[in-house]
C-alpha cells in the first residue's frame, strides 16, 4: 500500500477526473439541485455519505461473495440492489434516531439510489482495484478512499456551481439558455479550467 497512490486517487477523483465535470456521473442531480447553496450542500453530504458506505459494502460483496462463487456477471444487479437497500435502510434509521439530520438531507436519499455517481464509483472500484478476479494489495482502503474522494469531487463541483447560479439569478440571461443550457455551458467552462490539473506528477 503506497501513500502516493492515495494522493493520486485524491487528485484524480476530485480534480482531473472529477466525477461530474469529467465522468458525467450525477449530472441530473447536479443540474437540478445546484441552484441554491444550502440544498446543494445537503445533497453533496448525502452523496458523499452514500458513496463511501456503498464503496465499502460493494467491495465486501464483490470480494467475498461474487468472486468466490464465480458470480461476477451478477455484479450490476448485486451492486444496485445493495445500494438501493442500503439507502432505504439508512433513510429509515436516520428518520428514527436523528430527525433534524433527516430534515437536512434525508429527502435526497432516495434520489441518490439512481445517482450514477454511486453505482459508478462501485463499478469503478471493482474495475480498478481487482485484476483477474483477485484483489490488489490494499484495494479495500483504495476503494473506500476513492468513494470518499468521489464524494468530495461532487461536493466541490456542486458548491462552485451553486455559488455561480445563485449570482446569475440576479441577472437577466437570454431566455433560451436559462437554467439547463446555461448550466451546462458553465459546467463546460469549469471543466475547461480544471484541465489545468492534467499531467499531474508528484
Amino acid at each position: 500500500m503506497e501513500i502516493s497512490k492515495f494522493f493520486t486517487i485524491f487528485i484524480s477523483a476530485v480534480f482531473i477526473w472529477n466525477v461530474i465535470l469529467s465522468r458525467f456521473l450525477g449530472l441530473c442531480s447536479f443540474i437540478a439541485i445546484s441552484k441554491e447553496t444550502k440544498p446543494a450542500l445537503a445533497m453533496s453530504f448525502a452523496v458523499m455519505f452514500v458513496t463511501t458506505m456503498s464503496s465499502i459494502i460493494t467491495w465486501l460483496i464483490y470480494r467475498f461473495l461474487l468472486i468466490p462463487f464465480n458470480l461476477t456477471y451478477l455484479r450490476t444487479i448485486a451492486f444496485i440492489l445493495v445500494i438501493a437497500t442500503f439507502v432505504q435502510f439508512v433513510e429509515m434509521v436516520i428518520r428514527k434516531i436523528a430527525p433534524p439530520f433527516y430534515r437536512f438531507f434525508g429527502i435526497y436519499l432516495p434520489l441518490i439510489t439512481v445517482n450514477c455517481a454511486v453505482l459508478g464509483v462501485a463499478v469503478l472500484n471493482s474495475d480498478m482495484f481487482f485484476i483477474n478476479g483477485k484483489a490488489l494489495e490494499g484495494s479495500f482502503w483504495y476503494s473506500t478512499f476513492q468513494g470518499v474522494c468521489v464524494g468530495l469531487g461532487y461536493t466541490l463541483a456542486m458548491l462552485l456551481m451553486s455559488g455561480i447560479r445563485e449570482r446569475l439569478e440576479l441577472c437577466d440571461v437570454p431566455k433560451a439558455v436559462k437554467d439547463f443550457p446555461l448550466g451546462f455551458i458553465i459546467a463546460s467552462l469549469m471543466s475547461l479550467s480544471f484541465l489545468g490539473f492534467n499531467g499531474f506528477r508528484f
Partner: protein
C-alpha cells in the same frame, strides 16, 4: 420607459467614470506592452492583435444585432477582450486562431451570460483555454525574440518544466522581454508601466495583484528549488510566463473577481496557490490562465461568504 431599477451583481459603479471610460483606459494601459510585443516578435504579432480585436468586435456586434439588443461595441469591453486574448497568444499562430478564439471568448465567455457585467469567467482567458484545448500544437509553438523569421524556441518556463538548462537567461532579459512567450506577456517593463497607470488612476487596487504575485513567489521559493526546500528561484518565476499580465490585467477584472477587499485577498492567494501548484507539479509549464479561471468560478462563492454586514440585519 426602460426599467431604471436594475438589480444585478457587479460592477456597481458610483463614480463619474462610466464603465466605458474605464474599459478604454485599461486598453490604453495595455498599449505599451503591445508595442513591445510587436517590436520583439515582428509584424506577425501586430496581425494577431488586429485580428483578435476585429473578431471580438464583429462577434459582439453580430450577436447583439441578431438578438435585437443595443449594439455596444463602442464601450470598449469587446475591444479589451479581443486585445487580451491576442496578448495571450504566441506571435506566429495561424490567422484563424485569434479569430476563432475571440469569437468563443465573446459568444460563450460573455454574451451567453447576458453580456457585460454578467459573465462569470474572464472571457479572454476562456477563449485562450478553449484554443489551448482544441489546437494545442499552435498554442505551444513559440519563437525566438528579436528574430522576425519565426525560429522556434521554447519559453523559459517550458525549459524549466523539462529540466533543461536555462541558456543565457538573465533577469534583465526576462524583465525587458527578450525571451520566447506570448505577445503581451513578455515585456514586464511595459506591463508594469501600464499597471502603474491604472493604480494611479485608481482603476485597480493592490489587493489582488500583490497577493497573487506574493503567493507565487513564496511557494516557488519554498518548493521550486532543485536543492531541497527554500532554494527556489522566486524572481525567475515572477518574471516568467503570464504571471504579471494575469495578475495585473486579468485577475483584476471587476466582473469576475470578488467585490470585498477580504474576498479579493482570498482570490489573489487562491490564484497564486493554483498557479504555483500547476507550475511546480502539473503537466503544463504555465498555470496562470487555469488558476484565474478556477478562481473565477469560486468568486461568487467567496463573495457570498465575505459579504459585509448590511446595517440592521443579523
Amino acid at each position: 420607459m426602460k426599467n431604471k431599477l436594475i438589480v444585478c451583481a457587479s460592477p456597481h459603479l458610483h463614480k463619474d467614470e462610466s464603465v466605458s471610460r474605464i474599459m478604454w483606459m485599461v486598453v490604453l494601459s495595455l498599449v505599451p506592452c503591445g508595442i513591445a510585443g510587436v517590436f520583439i516578435f515582428g509584424l506577425s504579432a501586430l496581425w494577431v492583435i488586429t485580428l483578435g480585436v476585429i473578431s471580438a468586435l464583429v462577434t459582439e456586434a453580430g450577436l447583439q444585432i441578431l438578438s435585437k439588443k443595443k449594439v455596444s461595441i463602442l464601450d470598449g469591453s469587446a475591444f479589451l477582450t479581443g486585445l487580451l486574448l491576442a496578448y495571450n497568444l504566441p506571435p506566429h499562430v495561424p490567422f484563424w486562431i485569434p479569430v476563432v478564439g475571440s469569437f468563443f471568448a465573446i459568444a460563450i465567455g460573455k454574451q451567453v451570460f447576458g453580456g457585460l457585467g454578467q459573465n462569470i469567467f474572464n472571457p479572454a482567458l476562456a477563449g485562450r483555454v478553449f484554443l489551448m484545448a482544441s489546437w494545442p500544437k499552435y498554442l505551444t509553438t513559440f519563437t525566438q525574440p528579436l528574430n522576425y523569421d519565426a525560429v522556434t524556441q521554447a519559453t523559459p518556463l517550458a525549459l524549466l518544466k523539462e529540466g533543461k538548462l536555462l541558456g543565457d537567461f538573465s533577469y534583465l532579459k526576462l524583465f525587458l522581454g527578450v525571451r520566447g512567450g506570448c505577445i503581451g506577456e513578455v515585456c514586464i517593463l511595459a506591463l508594469l508601466l501600464g499597471a502603474l497607470f491604472l493604480f494611479i488612476r485608481g482603476y485597480i487596487s493592490w489587493h489582488i495583484p500583490l497577493t497573487y504575485i506574493f503567493t507565487v513567489g513564496v511557494l516557488t521559493y519554498i518548493f521550486g528549488g532543485s536543492q531541497g526546500l527554500f532554494s527556489g528561484d522566486w524572481l525567475f518565476h515572477i518574471l516568467s510566463g503570464g504571471l504579471i499580465l494575469g495578475a495585473f490585467f486579468m485577475a483584476t477584472d471587476y466582473v469576475t473577481s470578488p467585490l470585498t477587499r477580504k474576498g479579493q485577498i482570498i482570490f489573489g492567494v487562491g490564484c497564486g496557490l493554483l498557479t504555483a501548484i500547476i507550475r511546480l507539479w502539473g503537466g503544463y509549464p504555465e498555470g496562470a490562465s487555469y488558476a484565474i479561471l478556477m478562481m473565477n468560478a469560486a468568486a461568487a462563492l467567496i463573495d457570498r461568504f465575505t459579504k459585509s454586514r448590511v446595517y440592521g440585519t443579523k
